[in-house]
């Protein structure tokens, strides 16, 4: 894990708050894309939305939307506090309770951003371009991932710092590993405050 964040702290750019919002938004769209591409929910429950210069699919299922909004809001808060390390989308077979896929988004927080309030130099457009390429890659991975034959459900695991107090409606969980998995590392993007490395592990 020898990733060095190149930090430049001149000029106007992105703030910690803005970075947290951007990353949480990326998670929302990324998870929606995964759910659509992997057929976890029926495709007719998705609607088209223009974002990052792409046509993305977003769910219209009210329960799912509610759930995702809950998680995204919580993520935003934790990203702002820089205490979240990882977000994992776990796809589980309902029948056998076997974990079939893990989409892992490693988050590297630059904790120094909490102390100095100065914005970082990186344009919104550059970040969005990076995010677009990540989402494109997520869409493209469907070509080599194995077909999900049985009915599946998904869960979102969030890796946080140990000293975090567990909020209401949340609980601790296992890491949900896949035995004998294949892993593929995808592109990453950075807002200079949060760096998100995307990877997928599958059976």
């Amino acid at each position: 894990m020898a990733f060095h964040q190149e930090l430049s702290r001149e000029h106007q750019g992105i703030t910690l708050r803005g970075s947290a919002e951007l990353v949480a938004e990326f998670f929302s769209y990324g998870i929606n894309s995964i759910l659509y591409q992997r057929g976890i929910y029926p495709p007719e429950t998705f609607t088209r939305v223009q974002k990052y210069g792409l046509t993305l699919l977003v769910t219209t299922d009210p329960e799912l939307t509610n759930y995702l909004n809950n998680v995204t809001e919580q993520m935003k808060e934790w990203l702002y506090k820089c205490i979240v390390q990882r977000l994992v989308v776990v796809i589980t077979s309902i029948e056998s309770s076997e974990v079939l896929e893990r989409w892992q988004f490693d988050i590297e927080c630059d904790k120094t951003a909490k102390d100095d309030n100065g914005p970082r130099e990186k344009s919104q457009k550059a970040i969005q371009d990076e995010i677009r390429s990540v989402i494109r890659q997520i869409t493209a991975t469907v070509t080599f991932l194995p077909l999900l034959e049985s009915a599946c459900a998904f869960d979102l695991l969030i890796y946080t710092d140990k000293d975090l107090a567990v909020p209401e409606k949340w609980e601790e969980s296992g890491p949900q590993f896949i035995a004998n998995s294949e892993e593929v590392r995808l592109r990453s993007f950075t807002t200079t405050i949060h760096k998100v490395n995307t990877m997928v592990a599958y059976k």
Binding site: M1, L64, Y67, N70, V71, Q74, Q85, R86, V88, V90, T92, I94, E95, S97, R102, Q104, D106, A151, A153, F154, D155, L156, L157, I158, Y159, T160, D161, K162, L164, V166, K169, W170, E171, E172, S173, G174, P175, Q176, F177, I178, S181, E183, R185, M199, A201
Partner: protein, 690 residues
């Protein structure tokens, strides 16, 4: 349902028939006195009217039924049409697939054609190149042709020049011929003059002979002289004439010479060409010679160089005879250089590595030295401690001595009998204290020695390290360390790889991280739902199993019904009940309709034909006429087959009384309707007569 319907129709017809029969039986009693009262006719009329009305109603209902049937048929046809459409769709889909196949074939063909096209293009390019080369050759050829043409023009010019010369010569010849002709004409003139002169002379002579006057003489003399003069001229002319054939000969000779010269000229041209060719050759040879000279010069130079090289070979002692040798030598040298470079780099690397190792060792040394300093400090501390303890020991011994002295003084003062036990106890206590102190002292001394030893060890190690660090440190040690370092680096790399893989798989450090998820996440919800579903299904299965057990054990229908009832939802039951009710209602209505219809039909038959037809038993029909004299008079017919194709008259009491009719109409004419009509007429006539 349709089966049920058809069954009910059969049943209902039977029932209605029975009803009618019973009615008929009642009616027959009323008809026992036919035509006796008008009121009965009125009643009949009214009844008929009612019946007609009913018939109308029934007719409309039957129309309704027909419409319904038509609707059914329409639905059927609709289904059929849909099936056909589906078939058509299938065929269309197949056609589409075939089209797609064809499309692919066409695509492959297109590809082939494209390949062919590219080939053709390549060929075209080749052809173009060939064309270009041909054009070039054409140009060269045309140049040559031009040269040839220019030469031809030159030749033509020479020819024209020669022709001009020839014409000049001809001119000369012509002039000479003209002169000759002039001379000929002069000669003729002269000859004529001569003749004239001769004549004149002769005349004059005659004249002179005749009349010789002086002046005539003079004239004649003059004339003579003249004549002489003329004769001279003639002689000259003759001489010239004599020269003429010679001149002709000369002319011929000249012509021959001319021809000869012409030939010579041609030869001369040829020779000139040859000369030119030879001159060119000569020039070329001269050039070649000049080149030869330069080449010889170069050759000499090269020889000199070669000699110098050979001398070099001798001087260097290398075996260089040819350039190949030299190049080989150079290659070998380059290889050697490369090898040396590699060696150099490896040496540099090793030097760098050694430098690193040295730096590391220096760092180690520094660390060790700092440790040594620490240890020294510790030792000093320990030594100070020891000194302090020794001091304390001295103090304690002094105290002990003081205490003893005090005790002794006490002993001397007091009687030993009174205080001896107390004192002895104190003594013992004091001695114990002393012993403890000794033990403590010994312990401290042991610690001290240990510390000293440790210090010694450290010193030794420091010395060792310093000795290692010395420029002449043992090589083995370095190599060992190097090996260890590389091993550790490799291990580190492998561990990093493992860590990377584990992070990819989602591993985490449980001491720093915890995994959270939303408690109402979709997976757990789905699992819960599934669990509930499973439970429901299990319950249902259990219930059904129980039901099966009851049924196997020969349980009562009510129990099973209960089971079924409990199994089926009440809604379903209600629905089924409603269906049953509606079906029953329908049945009831149909029954009523059939009954009325059948009765009406029978009554109509009775009034129209005058016979009431009843079915007594299977395939037996009883006919009783409207005009029968007795109530029991009837005819029995039996159908030979169930379809009622052939009828046979059975003998009854009444039939015996009408033998003539039977014989006439049945046996001879073989017509039951005729027989029945005859009987009707007979009975009617009898009644009217009566």
């Amino acid at each position: 349902m349709e089966d049920l319907d058809s069954n009910t129709t059969v049943f209902s017809t039977l029932r209605s028939l029975n009803n009618f029969i019973s009615q008929r039986m009642e009616g027959m009693s009323g008809l026992a006195t036919p035509g006796s009262s008008q009121s009965s006719l009125q009643m009949q009329y009214q009844q008929r009217m009612q019946l007609e009305e009913q018939a109308g109603q029934i007719h409309s209902k039957s129309q309704l039924l027909q419409v319904e049937r038509e609707k059914m048929q329409m639905e059927l046809s609709h289904k059929r049409a849909r099936i056909e459409l589906e078939k058509a769709a299938n065929t269309n889909a197949r056609n589409y697939e075939r089209e797609a196949d064809r499309n692919q074939e066409l695509l492959t063909r297109i590809k082939q054609y494209q390949e062919r096209e590219t080939e053709a293009e390549n060929k075209l390019k080749e052809q173009m190149e060939m064309n270009k080369s041909y054009k070039k050759s054409m140009e060269t050829m045309s140049k040559k042709l031009q040269e040839k043409e220019s030469k031809l023009a030159e030749a033509n010019e020479t020819i024209t020049i020669l022709k001009g010369k020839i014409s000049d010569l001809q001119w000369n010849i012509m002039n000479q011929e003209m002169q000759m002709t002039n001379q000929d004409s002069q000669k003729q003139e002269l000859m004529e003059q001569l003749d004239v002169e001769k004549k004149n002379s002769s005349y004059k002579f005659q004249l002179a002979h005749c009349c010789p006057p002086s002046h005539v003489f003079q004239d004649l003399e003059q004339k003579l002289s003249q004549q002489e003069h003329d004769a001279l001229i003639v002689k000259n002319m003759k001489a010239e004439l004599a020269r003429f054939p010679k001149m002709e000969r000369e002319l011929r000779q000249l012509r021959e010479e001319n021809a000869y010269f012409r030939e010579m000229k041609e030869n001369n041209g040829l020779l000139k060409e040859e000369v030119e060719g030879l001159q060119r050759k000569l020039e070329r040879y001269e050039k070649v010679q000049a080149q030869l000279v330069t080449v010889e010069l170069e050759n000499e130079k090269l020889l000199g160089k070669l000699q110098s090289w050979e001398k070099l070979d001798q001087s260097t002692g290398l075996n260089i005879r040819t350039p190949d040798d030299l190049s080989r030598q150079i290659v070998a040298l380059q290889q050697r250089e490369l090898a040396l470079k590699e060696q150099n780099s490896t040496f540099m690397n090793s030097a760098r590595m050694l430098e690193k190792a040295r730096q590391q060792l220096q760092e180690d040394l520094l660390r060790v030295q700092s440790q040594l300093v620490d240890e020294k400090k510790k030792r000093e501390h320990q030594e100070a401690l020891v000194r302090r303890l020794q001091k304390r020991v001295v103090l304690l011994t002094k105290e002990r001595d003081g205490m003893r002295a005090i005790l002794e003084s006490y002993d001397s003062e007091l009687t030993p009998a009174e205080h001896s036990p107390q004192l002895s106890r104190r003594m013992r206590e004091a001695e114990e204290l002393v012993q403890k102190l000794h033990a403590h002292h010994a312990e401290l001394e042991a610690q001290l020695s240990q510390v000293l030893e440790e210090v010694g060890n450290h010193k030794q190690r420091a010395e060792m390290v310093s000795s290692i660090n010395f420029p002449f440190f043992p090589r083995l040690k370095i190599e060992e360390l190097e090996a260890e370092r590389s091993k550790l680096a490799e291990e580190n790399r492998s561990l990093e790889m493992k860590l990377e893989k584990l992070t990819l798989q989602g591993d985490y450090d449980p001491s720093r991280t915890k995994v959270l998820h939303f408690s109402m996440n979709p997976t757990s919800l789905a699992k819960q739902q599934r669990k509930e579903e499973q439970q429901q299904l299990q319950e249902e299965c259990e219930r059904l199993r129980e039901l099966v057990r009851v049924l196997e054990g020969g349980g009562s229908i009510s129990a099973t019904r209960e089971g079924v009832g409990s199994f089926q939802s009440p809604q379903e039951v209600a629905e089924l009940k409603k269906q049953v009710e509606s079906a029953e209602l329908k049945n009831q209505r149909l029954k009523e309709v059939f009954q009325t219809k059948i009765q009406e039909f029978r009554k109509v038959c009775y009034t129209l034909t005058g016979y009431q037809i009843d079915i007594t038993t299977e395939n037996q029909y009883r006919l009783s006429s409207i005009y029968a004299e007795h109530q029991g008079d009837c005819l029995l017919f039996k159908a030979s087959s169930s379809s009622g194709g052939k009828m046979q008259l059975l003998e009854t009491e009444f039939s015996r009384t009408i033998r003539e009719l039977i014989e006439l109409h049945l046996l001879r004419q073989d017509s039951i309707p005729a027989f029945l009509s005859a009987l009707t007429l007979d009975l009617f006539s009898r009644q009217t007569i009566a």
